[in-house]
Symmetry: C2
Subunit: 432 residues, 2 copies
């Protein structure tokens, strides 16, 4: 379906994720350009083309609130290792050798294809060569919040933090106003950025009124080190620098103290919970039920495919719903409805985009997925949230629409050539 044509998807079960969590049976969504202009029951009121989805589910696309997309190239390069050995002996050497702009483009395309196939419509990305990643993302048609990843030491993308800050600022200026690429200030962590860099980060975010994201309290060791160096843990250090505000999303946040949690709630700072990565790297299990009780906005992220090892938000949502029940011996925490909100509207809120995405409502962007229910995985359905969170896998996702444009139809990618991407990645022969 072309972006510009008025059209309606009809005969759908619409999981709106609006404030009332309305589920509309025999529903339709009318799209004009990139916007939802009507949602209702029965026949659409507007003219235009009609697409009967045959009783399938339509829901907002997933918002992946934390990833390092081009690292999909390093999926499985090293596993089952202690964090520092994994980073220092495998990930960083591989990045030093292979993270060129061209390879970042190839890795980005691999990640983009996987995200579309698993129903993600918006992602927040932290990596280098951000211009290249943004160009590939715009071509693929996905929505993204991103910027040049800022840190102190040299990468293949910049020599030092001053150059990183310059690249980051140029990126914001260049992409500001783009329909799909939403610029942000992306800084790596309190332990990889000096105080002066963090101050400049804050100034840049304020100047351009853009969201920020960074890693916060991912491991016990990080909290100990930052506390040793700064006399404050990462959260209190960010608070001192006035970086703990409602523009900031902290990725991971496994080890927040009671004080930290209250400060997150008070300052409206969001969390991008990454349960798979936290398990895989042995970082721990974030006390998410406590965070939710305090009213903190908790979104979901896959982290990069080097520590996941995929970008599948369906799996992430399911794990988020399961993990905390077993960890707290309480099967009522993080119920299916909560998990689906974490994977959609909470992600939109974290990224400052809840005015345009995260739920299916009139006036918002047409970012949604269509889920096939005529298969064994989705049979029977007693409760839609339960079926989507606990039973579904990503192969049930048939169609993906972003900004009014279909990126996948009948599980066939429209904007990307999957075979070509797979061939290109294989031809790199990394580490062989």
């Amino acid at each position: 379906m072309q972006e510009s044509i008025l059209h309606s998807y009809t005969n759908a079960v619409i999981i709106t994720i609006n404030k009332c969590m309305d589920i509309i049976k025999n529903g339709y969504i009318t799209v004009n350009g990139n916007k939802i202009i009507d949602i209702g029951t029965g026949e659409p009121k507007s003219g235009g083309i009609t697409i009967d989805v045959g009783g399938k589910i339509i829901m907002p696309g997933f918002v992946n609130a934390h990833t390092h997309m081009p690292m999909t190239l390093y999926r499985g390069i090293a596993d089952d290792l202690p964090l520092m050995e994994w980073l220092e002996e495998h990930i960083w050497p591989a990045e030093a050798k292979y993270t060129t702009e061209e390879n970042v483009r190839i890795g980005a395309r691999l990640g983009l294809a996987e995200m579309i196939k698993t129903g993600t419509t918006t992602f927040c990305d932290m990596y280098f060569f951000a211009d290249a990643v943004a160009e590939e993302t715009e071509k693929a048609g996905l929505r993204s919040v991103m910027g040049e990843g800022i840190l102190e030491f040299a990468t293949n993308s910049f020599e030092h933090s001053k150059a990183a800050l310059e690249k980051a600022e140029n990126f914001i200026k260049k992409w500001s106003g783009n329909k799909l690429i939403h610029p942000a200030v992306i800084f790596h962590a309190t332990y990889t950025c000096k105080k002066n860099t963090l101050i400049k980060v804050k100034e840049m975010a304020e100047k351009y009124k853009v969201p920020m994201t960074t890693h916060i309290s991912e491991t016990k060791g990080e909290v100990e080190n930052v506390t040793y160096e700064q006399g404050k843990n990462p959260v209190q250090y960010l608070k001192e620098l006035k970086l703990l505000n409602n523009k900031l999303t902290g990725a991971h946040c496994v080890w927040l103290t009671e004080y930290d949690q209250k400060d997150f709630a008070k300052h409206g700072t969001s969390i991008a919970h990454c349960p798979t990565s936290n398990l895989k790297l042995g970082s721990g299990i974030a006390p998410i039920p406590d965070y939710l009780k305090k009213g903190i906005n908790v979104a979901l992220g896959t982290d990069g495919a080097a520590s996941n090892n995929n970008l599948d938000m369906v799996e992430e949502m399911r794990l988020a719903a399961l993990l905390h029940k077993g960890n707290t011996l309480n099967p009522t925490v993080v119920n299916a409805k909560t998990a689906i909100k974490m994977a959609t509207i909470n992600g939109a809120k974290a990224l400052g985009l809840d005015n345009i995405i995260g739920s299916l409502e009139v006036g918002k962007r047409a970012d949604f997925i269509i889920i096939d229910t005529e298969n064994t995985f989705m049979t029977p359905i007693y409760d839609y949230y339960s079926a989507i969170v606990y039973s579904m896998n990503s192969s049930c996702i048939e169609t993906v629409v972003v900004n009014g444009k279909e990126l996948m139809v009948g599980r066939e990618l429209v904007t990307l050539n999957e075979n070509l991407i797979v061939e290109q990645v294989k031809s790199l022969k990394i580490m062989q």
Copy 2:
């Protein structure tokens, strides 16, 4: 491919899961009847038909060591509830009303279709109307270890434990020697069977030399109750009754004491670890790394779809590999190689079938799956175990072969009609 024809699958990466964990590149597997008669590199030595799999992966099918397959009918009927409320107010009333022989057949077909689509080739089933389940399983072509589920109180399948024991014994006699259905003594738990019933269970297993399975120490409450009633916890009670032996697999085993663990190791009793179900019902996280260190054979199970809510062993294997790293803050425990063994050969050992399944070796049954690697999920591959455990999802599984017969080819079911099954389940209108 017909069961009786000599044929070879060539040009494959063969993940053998044999003692040396050999991986054979450019490999072939020759099948005659229901057996593997040759495995090697390059061109097959025997004549017969050749199927070039184009570089795809061939590995043993998954062994689901604990499920309640016909309960797939109740997938998602009640979630996010405390265990006893879930059982007493939702599952048991639904079962009393809907668990007829005919519905058990319909639920079984739904579960069988899902298992084939997700690469399971053998499962151990605990439910009622076992004859009906066995007939449906044989028709679908899957391998199963099963029997009539024995417990004290009345079900729709029997009036009391005496009738259950009779049905269980008749099942063993009827199905003994069957190529696909391996009879077993299946008893529910120490808290649902009286001492006299447990003694008869033991005698029956000894008389017919069949494996046994039961729920053991799934929740803290169960351990407390059995200890209160019997003066011993479930493991020590089973030990006293001489049921703790190498014919027994304990499902769940979340709350084993140090003594229990040593007794499992000493007596060769296996564990069917069900991480998803244990998380979902808030039962807890079994200390699997401790069990493995003690040399206990740990297999994997999905449990029933009423507490999972699917039968996908790919997801179960991935969760088993991830969960214990985060829970112990140690990313080196349950590595990819260990997880894949838990999902294959360890399951075969638990069920007493490691002489015929669980690995790809000459003389064993031809039970295997073919995995497509030309897709984004399986790109790139640096390590085969990592790719299968951490990156793959079940949609990558293209072909499933059991006992030499293809049950799925190119993701199309051969022995079952998926559309018909979905329609039949929907037509039941349970709880509507």
